[in-house]
Amino acid sequence: MNHPAFWRAGAISSTAVMAVVLIFLTIDSLSAIQAGGRNVPDYSVINKAIGYQFDAKRAASVPIIGGEELLFGRKYSAAEADRLMDHGKLAIQSRACINCHTFFGNGAYYAPDLTKAWLDPVWKQMWMPMTQSATKEEAMVKFLMNPEKYPTWGRMMPNLKLTREDSEAIVAYLKWMSAIDTNGFPSGFKTTESK
């Protein structure tokens, strides 16, 4: 044990063993998180109602996928949903949303977490009347296009020059994201759409 070679062998073997275990876990995890995998729904879930309920067996809140609930009054085919999600992610990255917000708690902490933003009661309670919108998704689009016009407190979201198409794609993206099984994060999220 006093010889460096002993510890060199230890370093190589512990690294190798852990790397191999990580590779196996990665293969399994990637299959679970592909769209349509065990934990992540297919993009066409945007055509359905989504809720978030506490599951006593898992001791955690889990997403509930319900029946048909159209987004922007239309039903998206699988190919359309794929394109919409790609556009949504591109809009999210190009505006660096993650540098103020968090997604699954990852990002910056200047603005709210967006993991279950689609399910947030605030859209119906505050932004629908404020934007005079008939639906939640319409209120979200109006807010995203002109956030500085609809402030709720002192810290405002800047206008990021999002087009109508960008905003619709982001709303669809948030709806899909809310249906991902995140092992109960966030805990105790109070949505009005849990049932």
Partner: protein, 465 residues
Amino acid sequence: MYRSQQLALKYFIAAIALFGIMIVFGLLASAQYVHMGFLFQVLDFSITKTLHIDTMILWLLMGFMGCIYWFLPQELERDVEGIKLAEIMFYILCTAIATVAAVFIFVQYGGSNEFSMWFINQGRKYVEAPRWAAIGIVLVVLVFSYNIVATAIKAKKITGIMGVLMIDLVPLFALYLIAFPRITNMSVDLFWWWWLVHLWVEGTWEVLIGCIMALALMQLLGTARRIVETWLYIEVALVLGTGILGLGHHYFWIGTPEYWLAIGGLFSALEPLPLLGMVVHAVYDAGTHHMKTTNKPALYWMMAEAFGNFLGAGVFGFMMTLPQINLFSHGTQWTVSHGHFAFWGAYACGVLSVVYVALQKARGLEEMNGIRWKWSFGLLNFGMIGMVGALLISGIAQAFYERAIGGSTIQAFIDAQSNLWFLQGMNARLVFGVLFAIGYAVLVYDLLTIGGKHRTKQAAVLRPA
């Protein structure tokens, strides 16, 4: 002085300058928490925060490269192969950084298209740099790797430290390639992104700083090679033995399977072990030499690195890493508290230590001491600990009021951000941030002037350039 060491000094100058820019944008970002509407639609938080974080990554990376370019010719007893190319890459890197910063400040955002990804902002935390600049970073790392490997081959000498360093270059390069693809699925995107962020920062960087500290210890305290290499292997075994699967603590909530809760919790709880080992190592070595050295600032910064790494990365990381706690602490200012302490302790203090080591040789000083370094050491560390404590208070208030009580809704977020304890923490963070900035100013003044008239050019010449 070797030509490579002259390049190292340039890297240190660039790194310290970026350190200052990091502080400026950090202060602006923290002021945006305190004064609502500050720089709204002029230089929004996302921009100030991006520049704060990206300059932090870059000054540390440039600091590491400076350290290696400094020690490499001494370790291998010859100048570095391909040094001309390395010098060119230094200027390319500086130009690229300045260009990206200008684009972030003046252009800020693009439209929802690939052009934005290539030329404006990729919008992925830590790796916001547009793809053209990311290609530049890849080239810089490739040349850096070539310098090290080719020099070792020419010298026909691979010491234990060099062996670890060369193997570490492979993941350092390969993992950065994750900075390029745009992945639609957020869960998959974050899965690979954490490979880059965690395995870089808590894997390859820890090994890299381990190599740098080993080289510095031999020079600073004259510690025997056999001892530092043994410790380096122990550190690598523990860092990678715990850290590779410690990656799991980032996979609790991103859509990945439930088994990561147990794996991530267990292995990240073990992650402080190698950092504790580093403290033991540093204290033991310094103790056997009765803290006697001709370079006090370097020794103190090295001790700060050992303790800061253990406390900031180890203890503060462990405090919030178990899933039962992380469910509430995740994504709050609690994380920011840990992040500040960890990067400062694990890396920044280590780079500053080597900067003083290099300056002593470069200026031919028999002894490095004085009063200014003590002030900068005190102010920087006091400022950092103050910021860390203040952010922890804000973070715990946020974990209680937003996460635990409020259930993480948008209204719960607003309520927590308006909470008195949260605001007190953010105000205190700004005050300690200003103290930290004063410490930085004293540091720069000290680095520029230390040694004064006692500098002797002859002593600096280890070998004609």
